[in-house]
């Protein structure tokens, strides 16, 4: 995993992160989820490509159930882009880098 990806360990930590950072991309995942393993290297690339511009974080939905419920996660991977603390855009399922790039670019322009 890329070094600049933040692992979220509590709801408080999550709330602080989206409050303190203008742009945050969050990968909601779980260890048992095969498609999440497919998307992981793509998220690494996103973190690398946008490292000066956005924060990239991972939320394990088995450990952070409160956050999973709050954002109504029904399928994983679910990737959510937060802008100024608010949910700006959401991608569900296995997607290529270009889909995430489009989601980010349209929100940080």
């Amino acid at each position: 995993m890329a070094e600049n990806i933040k692992i979220i360990n509590s709801t408080q930590e999550f709330d602080d992160m989206i409050k303190e950072n203008r742009y945050v991309l969050v990968d909601f995942w779980a260890a048992w989820c095969a498609p999440c393993r497919m998307v992981a290297p793509v998220i690494d690339k996103v973190a690398d490509q946008y490292k000066e511009k956005i924060i990239v974080a991972k939320v394990n939905i088995d450990e952070q159930q409160e956050l999973a419920i709050r954002y109504g996660i029904q399928t994983i991977p679910t990737i959510i882009f937060f802008k100024e603390g608010r949910l700006a855009s959401k991608e569900i399922g296995v997607k290529p880098l270009s889909s995430f790039a489009r989601m980010i670019d349209s929100n940080i322009a």
Binding site: D62, I73, Q74, T75, G93, V94
Partner: protein, 285 residues
């Protein structure tokens, strides 16, 4: 994840087997997955494939399988759920198992995948195509499994075993291996109901409340399988090397369009495999 294979082939009809044989004779490591009988094996009589005549589709298909197996092709049971292009390679999710390959050839044939009302809108919000991918999210909740493939009962049993309350809806009589704890209803689903997430399904006779619907068809629609794949109507667009708009991803056989004929499928499988093999050799030389 295991070793990266050269070529993954989805589908083991005439196009897929032809691709497999041609890739293998070029020394490529191949894995080929199939999840159903193909249309050829249902043909009553085939007279237009040069060199073979007065044969049933099944006789021909058996011949093709025998040939492929003699060349070392091993057909594995499995359904591709997603394919992710990574630039130089692909990750393919086959029933929850992730396999990496340099090239992928789609040869699933045509399947009459008709989307149900509510299905596309609620996909990812309670509608799922893969029990091993999403099942854990519904532990302690209700799920309906719609039987549309030969191994749907196994997925229903899997869901029940991890703590999902499963109702199995099928047109066929109750499968003998379906777990006793799984509720069985004979019938079909006509509509998936729910505003933002799945709330119920309509069988035409009753409304069944549920949190999730697992649509276990024998094939996933090509543009659901892989994001950004260019289609021409319901067929996949390809160039003369049978390559799609996604580099390294090929399609062959009925899936690329008419004529839906055996000889065309066999030829396209060959073209796709030879081009894929050549591209691998070029890159590695």
């Amino acid at each position: 994840m295991g070793e990266i294979v050269d070529i993954i082939i989805i589908g083991a009809g005439p196009a897929g087997l032809s691709a497999a044989v041609n890739a293998l004779v070029r020394g490529k490591r191949v894995r080929i997955f199939s999840n159903r009988d193909n249309n050829l094996s249902k043909a009553e009589r085939v007279d237009n494939h040069l060199g073979f005549y007065h044969m049933t589709g099944k006789e021909l298909m058996d011949k093709f399988k025998e040939h492929a197996e003699a060349m070392g092709v091993k057909i594995e049971d499995g359904k591709a759920v997603n394919i992710l292009p990574l630039g130089d390679s692909f990750m393919v999710n086959v029933n929850g198992q992730i396999i990496e390959s340099k090239k992928v050839i789609l040869a699933m044939g045509i399947s009459k995948v008709k989307e149900l009302p509510g299905e596309g809108r609620l996909l990812g919000n309670g509608v799922s195509y893969c029990s091993t991918c999403d099942g854990m999210l519904y532990r302690g909740k209700d799920a309906v499994v719609w039987d549309q493939s030969h191994d749907a009962w196994e997925e229903a049993n899997f869901l029940q075993s991890i703590g999902v309350n499963v109702t199995f809806i099928s047109n066929k009589p109750r499968h003998e291996n379906l777990s006793d704890n799984v509720k069985y209803i004979k019938g079909r689903i006509e509509e998936i109901i729910g505003e933002n997430t799945v709330e119920a399904v309509n069988t035409g006779e009753e409304i069944i409340k549920t949190d999730a619907v697992f649509m276990l068809r024998d094939a996933v629609a090509p543009d659901t399988l892989i994001e950004g794949l260019e289609l021409d109507g319901s067929f996949i667009s390809v160039n003369k090397y049978m390559e799609t708009n996604i580099p390294g991803l090929y399609a062959a056989g009925d899936i690329t369009g008419k004529p839906l004929q055996l000889s065309k499928a066999v030829s396209e499988g060959l073209i796709a495999a030879q081009h894929a093999a050549l591209q691998i050799d070029k890159k590695e030389s």
